[in-house]
């Protein structure tokens, strides 16, 4: 038997209940449960089904919706459905168990980009492009008009950031704006004078991009200054001044959900795969990849194949919803919940 004092030079604190807060690496002994515990990182990387979404279901689907927030505090705004009237508020919150309706998005349209938190989010742009201004901040209950980016290509972008902090956006669909980058300072957008190494567009992604303007990450999508375009696995990060190529993802796709906290923590799920024929599963991905700053790792497949979906959260945990399979399967209101690598307390096992 190893004595902790001998190997670490410290005694283990005995407590009647688990301390709070605790730090990574902290070890203690709970005298109530008679268990030794340690705070560390738990690697799950699994999917589960979430509560079905109220806006979609038999006979109707919701694609190109704007998602933002976190896994258990998410917002879905607007989106495209052939059977949901444009006047429908189409704004719902998810708390990890239940969806609830909230104040409607002020405008119609689809493919608007979403980022930030449920209580401090931003939705901007969207089709038709350039279309009317559709740029709003959201405090969890009300929408407020904000300044929009200069670029007239308002969809198919990669975005990431927070409401008050700087933010990047990239529109790469057409030359000469391919790879163009703008930053958000909480009030205005400005040209970042930076161009991506691989110009690309998401082709329907409304939550695609990780991090913010000082630590951003993008990957995959439709690449090139076409048409024609080609699906890419390329990945690159942004440090606030320039883009740098990073190791490629495994699966080339577009119309995917991509999100994450920084340039060292991102995830990709779902999307449209190469090929014109819409069938399940060959044309639509349920693949999951996560990025840790060094490489992309293929994780467990999600439960559903879908493209043009959206979501909230990131590599630590995410909720995804909406999307479609271009008519290849019935419209669904399925929701996926991903749990990645997260901070947690575990009981030390003696055998």
């Amino acid at each position: 038997m190893t004595n902790y004092l001998d190997i670490k030079g410290q005694n283990v604190q005995s407590v009647a209940s688990d301390p709070s807060p605790v730090a990574i690496g902290q070890v203690w002994y709970n005298t109530t449960s008679n268990t030794a515990k340690v705070r560390g990182f738990i690697s799950s990387n699994t999917w589960a089904t979430g509560a079905t979404m109220p806006l979609v279901g038999p006979g109707q689907y919701l694609s190109y919706a704007s998602g933002f927030g976190t896994k258990d505090a998410a917002v879905s705004a607007r989106g495209y459905s052939p059977v949901i009237p444009p006047s429908t508020p189409n704004v719902v919150h998810y708390d990890g168990s239940t969806w609830t309706s909230h104040t409607g998005y002020p405008d119609g349209g689809t493919s608007a980009q979403g980022f930030g938190l449920q209580s401090a989010g931003i939705v901007f742009g969207g089709d038709p492009s350039p279309g009317p201004a559709r740029n709003y901040s959201y405090d969890g209950s009300a929408w407020t008009s904000i300044n929009g980016p200069a670029l007239s290509v308002y969809s198919d972008m990669y975005t990431g950031g927070t409401t008050g902090a700087a933010f990047k956006t990239v529109a790469a669909k057409t030359s000469p704006t391919a790879g163009f980058t703008e930053e958000w300072d909480g009030t205005n957008w400005s040209d970042a004078s930076a161009t991506m190494n691989t110009s690309r567009y998401t082709s329907g992604g409304t939550r695609a991009g990780a991090g913010d303007s000082s630590a951003g990450l993008i990957a995959v999508g439709n690449a090139g200054n076409g048409p024609p375009y080609s699906l890419s696995t390329a990945s690159e990060s942004y440090d606030g001044s320039s883009w740098s190529s990073t190791p490629s993802a495994s699966q080339a796709r577009r119309g995917m959900f991509m999100s994450g906290a920084s340039q060292t923590s991102g995830m990709i799920y779902g999307g449209r795969l190469p090929g014109p024929a819409p069938s399940i599963p060959s044309a639509f991905s349920n693949g999951t990849e996560t990025y840790d700053g060094t490489s992309w790792t293929t994780r467990a497949n999600g439960p559903f194949h879908a493209t043009y979906l959206t979501g909230a959260g990131g590599a630590e945990g995410a909720t995804t919803w909406g999307g479609d399979t271009e008519g290849a399967s019935p419209p669904s209101n399925y929701v996926g919940e991903f749990t990645g690598v997260y901070e947690g307390t575990v009981t030390i096992q003696t055998s």
Partner: protein, 104 residues
């Protein structure tokens, strides 16, 4: 011996597939509420029983898939000619659905 089996089960949402299920089972969802899961696997068999799934032979699963495909194709055919789903220049363009051959 088949590596996979097909289960017909309707997803009800939260709890239909749990993280614990996902840790042990690879899931593939197909049209017609079909789920392709490992064959001769206790975790998969327990999950199927837990969701009241009905095991289908490969032929039965293919028939369910094909029947749903016809519904999908008929739905596409019924769209107006000017529907965004039929406009190749639209972001919402869909090609007419095509089927696949299921495998075990």
């Amino acid at each position: 011996m088949a590596d996979y089996q097909y289960i017909e089960a309707t997803c009800w949402g939260k709890g239909f597939i749990t993280h614990e299920d996902s840790r042990h089972i690879s899931f593939e969802n197909y049209a017609g509420n079909l789920w392709k899961i490992p064959n001769n696997d206790q975790h998969a068999n327990r999950w199927s029983a837990g969701v009241a799934g009905v095991k289908k032979t490969l032929v039965e699963a293919q028939a369910i898939y094909d029947a749903d495909l016809v519904v999908r194709q008929n739905a596409w055919d019924a769209l107006p000619d000017d529907a965004p789903e039929k406009d190749a220049s639209s972001s919402f363009y869909w090609a007419r659905p095509t089927g696949i051959t299921l495998t075990e």
